[in-house]
Amino acid sequence: MLIRQPVRLAVALAGISFAGILMFMQLGFRDGLFDASVTVHRLFDADIVLISPRSTSSVSMAGFPRRRLIQAMASPEVEGITPVHWNLLLWRNPETLGTRSILALGFEPGHPLFTDPTLAEKAKLLTQKGRVLFDEKSRAEFGPVAEWFREGRTVESEINGKRVRVAGLIGLGASFGADGNLLTSSETFLDLIPNTPSGSIEVGLVRLKPGSDAEQVAQRLQSQLPDDVTVLTKQGFIDFEQNYWRTSTSIGFIFTLGAAMGFVVGCVIVYQVLYSDVSDHLPEYATLMAMGYKLNSLLGVVVREGLLLALFGYLPAYAAGQGLYLLVRNATQLPVAMNTVRAVSVFSMILIMCMLSAGLAMRRLVDADPAEIF
């Protein structure tokens, strides 16, 4: 019946689409944030990760004695270890000369760090002191490092006031905690932060022999090692980081609230449209009731109307969501992308929204007294 009122139909669909887009964006940002916070974490070539119990997140990693990592070697399942230095350092933009904090990882160039096999080759470039590998997916505020490097220029800059040279590019990705990343050797790293206590590292990577149960080994190591170290599986390390952003910051809550707002706004719009539609056609519904149609079959009409609205409101929302994700990806370098779970959950939200509104609008239908039409 809405088809006879194209304006009202357009308003309804626009409203639903708007609500859908709002939910897509908010949930997309939220999930993107949680994904982005662990871009680097996912890349580590490790089964078990040792961190300090005082570390709360990637932006505030505390040190623990390197000895603990070597003690972990004693376990028969352990195949190899990599001590990693981890800190936020001030990088000077070589173009504007402004500084900005960048996530720096220091490791022994000979040791495996990431699962990415191309890194081993590039790591050799770091053996010379004062060389860094720059993350080309870092935000543009760090300067046109990647462009300059590809042009063949020698890119030099300062970190914490010390001169470094970009020896190569890697692709990691920005996160909410760090706008950019760089890799360097432990030697260079300690040189950049001279007051690091010797023998202190922030992250210890442990690789297990194939077939070992990481969960079990982690538990045993935790009980064997002193409590100045926390033993996590790789997944546990990822969860640890995501959990920080989810619970210790307001970000998760804000975006979930935003999505809820979209839901409520959509509900109100759909309810308004369905309600006024039912009201306008009340005499007709009453006529049908007088003819002997069941109330339920008339309610079915309203439900179908809601269902169609949901469907046709969702499609543009989905398309717009895709487009906006692309926009956000390009603008923020955050891994915001459509996934099936979100597509389905937003659709079910829209469906619930339309059905809820239809249900409320139906109460008007129950008022349709067939005796009134004479």
Binding site: E284, L288, A290, M291, G292, L295, P370, A371, I373, F374
Partner: protein, 230 residues
């Protein structure tokens, strides 16, 4: 059952509107019997309760006092489901045409036929066309109510009421919105089609020009019925 030959059997029916001090009696002990296939016209000044009587017979309102039996079923205290099923056997034609605005003439008539059980879509559509042909609208099948004249709309409404194959037809001033020529035509049509289906007709009208189509005239005044033999 003794009353089974009667389509409508009303005994001492009274009805009130409002509550408390504003309570007003509109029907006072109405008795009315209509047998199968009879055409009865109900006249009377406006506000005397004609429409109320019609809605009570049509199972659209709850019976407050008295007995109303339609097709031998007692309506006093009938549940909603029972009244809804009963309404399927009663055709109603309203003062206004009450067609569904967004459906074509054909689809509107089909809405009536849709209530018949065990009929496929095609059969119902063919029936709808047949009915429109018998009311002389075979050329207007695809038109929306908006594009039809008043007389045509009323004829579509009649076709819709009859498409459900009712055994009782209630009409509330079906000619009110029509000029005398068209009104006459519509009523004649109504009577002829009702005869063919041996369906009882109870028609409320003010229109003195159509009184002669009735088998019987009933006059109502101040909530009481006066039988007139015509």
């Amino acid at each position: 059952m003794a009353t089974s030959s009667l389509t409508i059997d009303i005994q001492a029916l009274s009805h009130w509107y409002g509550k408390g001090s504003t309570r007003r009696q509109v029907l006072q002990g109405v008795d009315l019997q209509i047998s199968a296939g009879e055409v009865v016209l109900l006249t009377g000044p406006s506000g005397c309760g004609k429409t109320t009587l019609l809605t009570l017979i049509g199972a659209l309102r709850k019976v407050q006092e008295g007995d109303v039996e339609v097709f031998g079923q007692q309506l006093r205290g009938a549940a909603r489901g029972q009244r809804q099923r009963l309404r399927r056997r009663i055709g109603m034609i309203f003062q206004g045409h009450n067609l569904l605005r967004c459906l074509t003439a054909e689809q509107n008539v089909q809405m009536g036929a849709d209530l018949l059980p065990n009929l496929g879509y095609r059969a119902r559509r063919d029936q709808a066309r047949e009915w429109l042909r018998s009311v002389g609208l075979e050329d207007e099948l695809g038109k929306l109510p908006h594009d039809l004249s008043g007389g045509q709309k009323q004829r579509v409404a009649i076709a819709r009421a009859l498409a459900a194959k009712p055994q009782l037809l209630l009409a509330d001033e079906p000619t009110a919105a029509l000029d005398s020529g068209t009104g006459r035509e519509v009523v004649e049509l109504l009577k002829r089609l009702a005869r063919e289906q041996s369906c009882s007709v109870l028609m409320v009208t003010h229109d003195p020009r159509i009184l002669d189509v009735a088998d019987r005239l009933v006059r109502m005044e101040d909530g009481r019925l006066y039988q007139t033999i015509s």
